[in-house]
């Protein structure tokens, strides 16, 4: 399992946080929300695959 994924997710979070602040300050709340939502979907897609892999491993180990 690639540990650097934590850094990737954190980087996405920091970038989105900055973007969010900039967009909110410039009065573009809708775009800020959309940016956050898009980042969330991207990160979720990264994480969900790994969680599914872990669940599959546990299933195999405990013979579900």
């Amino acid at each position: 399992m690639e540990i650097d994924l934590i850094f990737k997710i954190a980087a996405v979070g920091i970038v989105v946080s900055i973007l969010n602040q900039v967009l909110v300050r410039s009065g573009r709340e809708e775009q800020a929300t959309m940016t956050t939502l898009a980042a969330l979907v991207v990160v979720l897609m990264l994480v969900v695959q790994k969680i599914a892999d872990l669940f599959q491993l546990v299933e195999q180990l405990f013979k579900f």
Binding site: M1, I6, L54, L57
Partner: protein, 132 residues
């Protein structure tokens, strides 16, 4: 133990990034923690494989049927997964969701243990029948 150091460093890095993002991007901070939980789970699973192999070896040596030990393993698996999900739900502030997962895991564990209970009941019935 290289894995121990790796596990601790993952947990610490995730805790730092999680708390850094918690104020502005709460969902992403939760995903950082969720990924860290998954990564540490993978490390734990690597150590679990030889343990389970030893349990299987003991089962084969003792001649116990696999139909009797399978529910035990399944219940252990359910316990691990529900505990993990419950913790993540509690971290995100949804305690009721975590409680539902825990309760459902408990019900599923009871369901999984039904063959064992039925086997014990059959044995008791046979023993009492023989005695009578």
């Amino acid at each position: 133990m290289e894995e121990l150091g790796k596990m601790i460093s993952i947990a610490l890095v995730a805790a730092v990034f999680g708390s850094l993002l918690a104020t502005t991007e709460k969902p992403i901070s939760l995903l950082v923690v969720l990924f860290a939980v998954t990564a540490i789970g993978w490390i734990g699973a690597r150590f679990l494989i030889p343990v389970l192999e030893t349990i299987e070896m003991l089962r084969d040596l003792s001649g116990i049927s696999s139909s009797l030990t399978a529910p035990l393993l399944k219940i252990a698996g359910i316990g691990i997964l529900t505990h993990l999900a419950n913790g993540v739900c509690a971290d995100s502030g949804y305690h009721s969701l975590g409680n539902v997962v825990r309760q459902t895991g408990l019900i599923m564990s009871v369901y999984m243990s039904l063959p064992l209970v039925q086997a014990v009941l059959e044995l008791m019935k046979k023993t009492i029948g023989d005695a009578a």
